[in-house]
């Protein structure tokens, strides 16, 4: 379903993703794990037509995201790491707009909106503007939106960020159900190792832009002689904090953007 070969992305001096290769089969739940700044979001952006790779090959359902953009876009749903709802619109309006943009016929749109809002327990609040929602409600709405057009693949970039344990459990239960019943392929990232351990069929660990290990959760634990996936993760990626370089880069990037904006 997803095939990536020697994928590389550089931003100026920074090599955000270097020579990454992996495959995700149809109906698989694949977790992409790595410390902050490892290159997870950048990889997702390249898989979802938002960024062009510097080099390497990507195939989504046999198509190339860099050239067959709209065909690829129809096939996946995405929950971005950062919020992407329209705050002024209501929950139902956000879903309806999404459905229209994805060519979902009106009648089906209404049905899907209702069933998804009920599934994510937002039905009672469907006519409230999103700006009145709590963080968890927004997150749930984003996930519902990503599923509205019944995509074959769903990309979840830290979908459980900021959710309480109840909602997290419920969310993963729904993802699993969707995967089992509708054979939706799932590509996810998370910083909660227990979640990855529970839901993922296979895992790739990425650090400093490169893949350091791949396999089932059991295989990764075995490889590193660890009890838990968290221990395995720390063994693979070390225990020092990676964010400093990334943060510095991000600051630089923002500054550059500001200057560009001024001119």
């Amino acid at each position: 379903m997803i095939r990536v070969e020697h994928l590389t992305k550089t931003f100026g001096e920074i090599q955000a993703v270097r020579d990454v290769s992996f495959e995700v089969g149809m109906g698989e739940i694949f977790a992409f794990l790595g410390p902050n700044g490892a290159g997870k979001t950048t990889t997702i952006k390249m898989l979802t037509t938002l960024l062009r790779p510097t080099s390497g090959k990507v195939e989504i359902d046999g198509l190339d995201p860099a050239h067959q953009q709209n065909e690829v876009r129809k096939r996946f749903g995405i929950v971005f790491q950062d919020p992407s709802l329209d705050d002024e619109l209501t929950a139902a309006e956000n879903l309806d707009l999404h459905g229209a943009l994805y060519h979902v016929p009106r009648k089906l749109r209404v049905e899907r909106t209702e069933s998804l809002l009920k599934l994510f327990e937002l039905w009672d609040r469907r006519n409230d503007p999103v700006k009145q929602f709590s963080g968890g409600m927004r997150r749930r709405l984003e996930i519902a939106r990503g599923l509205l057009h019944t995509p074959k693949i769903i990309f979840l970039d830290e979908p459980t960020l900021g959710l309480d344990p109840q909602t997290r459990n419920q969310l993963w239960a729904q993802v699993k159900k969707l995967n089992e019943e509708e054979r939706v392929t799932v590509f996810l990232t998370t910083h909660y190792m227990d979640e990855a351990d529970r839901v993922a069929h296979r895992i790739a660990v990425i650090d400093h832009g490169a893949i350091v290990a791949q396999g089932t959760p059991a295989e990764l634990k075995q490889q590193t002689n660890s009890e838990t996936l968290e221990q395995a993760f720390l063994a693979l990626t070390g225990s020092s904090i990676r964010d400093e370089g990334a943060e510095a880069n991000r600051d630089l990037r923002n500054m550059a953007k500001m200057w560009r904006g001024r001119r």
Partner: protein
């Protein structure tokens, strides 16, 4: 079509729901009408130019459309900041349709705002020549609105922060407004200023609205129409090109 429609509707909903913004943006033309209108009125009359409110009202309509449409274009920057832009960019839709829907929506809100200002002007004592002149004035309002929403969109594609927005307001939008002849007649201004006024698209918009509404026109309404039409096309093309290049 659906794509254009839903994005148009989104802009409209956002506009109608931001009542404070609507009211705040009516304050400015009201202030100008009362302050300048009644303040400069006597001087204007003495100089043999006729009734100043009559002259000023089309300028206020043009000004309001300018500000509202530039702002709705630049709202794209907020879409980027609040993340909705990503949702648009990842949708299986040609960028051109997204841009057109957004621009038409923004332009519609600017036109609505312009109509509100016409009402305010009439309350302040403005009297258009005839009812039949209004459709022609309306056509000019549409062109001005589309032109500046597209310009705002093009600018927003390259802006990423609020400081940039301030710069645009001070060094682009305000000059466009002041040089357009919205507040004073362009006949007899110094040559340098006349030159700037001649390259300011709003000059033609205000002039066309004025021509239609009070029968006084500096460039001639046909020229106004041609220049605005061409400029609107050019800015739409630039906006579309800039929008198609955005990366998330």
């Amino acid at each position: 079509m659906t794509t254009i429609y839903v994005l148009w509707l989104r802009q409209l909903k956002r506009y109608i729901r931001s009542k404070p913004r609507i009211i705040a943006s009516l304050g400015q033309p009201l202030l100008y009408l009362l302050g300048f209108g009644f303040g400069f009125g006597p001087v204007f009359q003495k100089a043999g130019q006729g009734n100043y409110i009559q002259f000023l009202a089309p300028g206020m309509i043009g000004m309001t459309i300018l500000f509202t449409s530039i702002f709705s274009g630049i709202e794209l920057m907020f879409d980027r900041q609040f993340g909705f832009l990503k949702e648009m960019l990842v949708a299986p839709q040609p960028r051109l349709l997204l841009m057109i829907g957004r621009t038409l929506g923004g332009a519609t809100t600017a036109i609505l705002q312009g109509i509100l200002v016409i009402v305010i002007c009439i309350i302040a004592g403005f009297r258009p020549l005839s009812i039949s002149a209004l459709p022609i004035a309306f056509a000019f309002m549409v062109l001005v609105a589309v032109l500046f929403t597209a310009l705002g969109t093009a600018i927003a594609c390259t802006l990423t922060d609020m400081q940039g927005f301030q710069m645009v307001m001070n060094f682009l939008v305000m000059p466009i407004f002041f040089l357009s002849g919205a507040l004073f007649p362009l006949t007899g201004v110094p040559a340098a200023m006349a030159l700037l006024a001649n390259i300011d698209p709003l000059s033609y918009g205000v002039d066309g609205i004025r021509g239609a509404m009070i029968g006084v026109s500096h460039f001639g309404m046909l020229l106004d129409f041609i220049v605005l039409g061409i400029m609107a096309m050019v800015f739409l093309a630039i906006g579309a090109r800039q929008f198609s290049r955005i990366e998330a």
